[in-house]
Symmetry: C2
Subunit: 330 residues, 2 copies
């Protein structure tokens, strides 16, 4: 983490106050880091104590500059009062990639997340040296780096889908590669650099598609929908929400806008609707569905539930840079 660079920036800008935002996984270090910044920069720091899920999610803070740690910026949001301080991880041995080789068919689309984006050249070199052609997809305006995945934007995979025979995701967890598996027809292999585990996303894709089909079926009879809209700067899709409302009304159903910042089951329990449509973070419906007591669909899934579209190849709801952010914060 380039903390020196961040502190220099605070001095250059003459900041008296700084806001600090951390991903949940860094909560334990938050106060130590605030203490260090206060001491070294001689200013007052303020920790944002609300969960942050990405660069889509920068709150207002009454400070001269906000530093968001652990994420890359979304370039198209062009936030002048926010500094993104990435927290890259040191490159381990690449031996963990060996078990991927029998599963990959070149050309291979190489993908990762911001934590490991600095490894890309080394990863590519390793695969090329072993006879695989590697393609790294260019980002759209929402993504900072070639080959970088977001939960809500898999452009770096989609844009090279026709050119590759398989994808290799290097990183932890299923969240990011699942987005790729859902929105492309190519094999997706995930390799965890810390556990060495290598897996094919095919089974998980199948499971999730069944869950989505069940949710769509359950919602197909729903009369009243709660249409979730988040005010978070990179998740605010009010235009889409109003289109969803009109679509529902044209189909003889009803939709009611539910405006919130943080989307969570405790905040939605009790509303007398039959189902939800989520225009905020596109992954909540897919990854958190079990937490909600009513079916939750993405807007694209709603079109299937209303029989405006066929259940064909699955279309992941994404927020890409073709979605223009609001001119000012909601």
């Amino acid at each position: 983490m380039d903390l020196d660079g961040a502190i220099a920036e605070l001095r250059t800008r003459g900041c008296k106050t700084v806001g600090l935002q951390y991903p949940d996984g860094m909560r334990l270090q938050a106060i130590d880091l605030a203490e260090e910044i206060e001491r070294r920069a001689g200013i007052t720091a303020m920790v944002s104590a609300e969960p942050t899920f990405g660069a889509c999610d920068v709150p207002r803070m009454p400070v001269d500059l906000i530093i968001q740690i652990g994420h890359a910026p979304m370039p198209y949001l062009n936030l002048r009062d926010v500094l993104f301080l990435e927290a890259p991880m040191a490159l381990p041995s690449l031996d963990f990639l060996e078990d991927t080789l029998p599963l990959l068919e070149g050309p291979v689309g190489l993908l990762t997340t911001v934590q490991h984006i600095s490894w890309l050249d080394d990863l590519q070199e390793y695969l090329i040296a072993r006879g695989l052609e590697v393609i790294v997809g260019e980002p759209d305006g929402r993504i900072a780096y070639a080959g970088q995945l977001l939960g809500c934007d898999v452009h770096t995979a989609r844009c090279v889908e026709q050119d590759v025979n398989s994808f290799l995701y290097v990183g932890t967890g299923d969240f990011h590669p699942l987005g790729v598996a859902l929105s492309t027809d190519k094999r997706v292999i995930a390799a965890d650099p810390f556990t060495g585990e290598v897996r094919d996303l095919a089974n998980l894709k199948d499971t999730v598609l069944r869950q989505r089909f069940a949710a769509i079926t359950a919602a197909s009879d729903a009369r009243r929908f709660g249409i979730i809209v988040s005010r978070k700067l990179g998740q605010y899709r009010m235009g889409l929400a109003l289109e969803v409302k009109r679509l529902l009304e044209s189909e003889g159903r009803k939709g009611y806008l539910l405006l919130m910042d943080f989307v969570g089951p405790e905040f939605l329990r009790g509303y007398r609707v039959d189902a939800f449509v989520n225009t905020a973070c596109p992954r909540i419906a897919i990854d958190d569905s079990a937490q909600y007591d009513k079916p939750m669909l993405t807007p694209k899934e709603l079109e299937i539930a209303l029989e405006r579209k066929e259940w064909g190849r699955y279309e992941l709801d994404e927020i890409t840079s073709s979605h223009a952010p609001p001119a000012s914060r909601a």
Copy 2:
């Protein structure tokens, strides 16, 4: 509820969009009400799906007018884009007051909450007819009505404390009368108009004071404090938070500002501090302390923990109209 009046106001103002805010207890009716307003006013409604605890807590919404239901306004906030739609309850039989009579010593300070404020004249009449002198305390600028209590502001009790021998609170729950019991030395009797239960707050006061003493003692050795600041318009006390930070530093401790909208234990777990000082809603430390894994103090309690003040008569942390709200939303 004067829904006709609200709809007329929407027409008068030429609103195309309205935001609706409900207290948690009204979640079940929220969508039905949104539906009725949309239909009758011919506009688009948006429900705020974040918990609302009072008129201190009106979020930004991208609408022409916000209607907050169930609370009275805080007059000194002077919110031109918010309409407060009170939800008064029908006056039941006043027989439930009979059991209070042996416990009351006149003059009696009469207190209630906004849900029952329309009963005040009838309540007063009942007591006077039975030989008790009744005093109804005037509000400060944060409170809409004489005799009205807020969790964070018990001015209508404090300002008449010297003139009464006991207080009578008419309403449900302990939350409101507890504030009175903690901040005055007079007997506080609570009468529930729906269950008929009559109780003296003395035992609860004693229990809570013991809990506060324990929290203060636990925090007295704390080196690092998290200083909670909420951005909610009527709870934002950044000036106080910075004073707390300076106070801690002058005592050789450290305080780190934690900025959040909604204060909840899940958002604070994991921060490496020994205790919290809460400058947001003053009742969280008192009523929700069991939910937090570290001691949480009010700013006044912190002064005792740091031995800047003696543990004498308990001073309830309040937000009154002497606390100037921010010029604009944080």
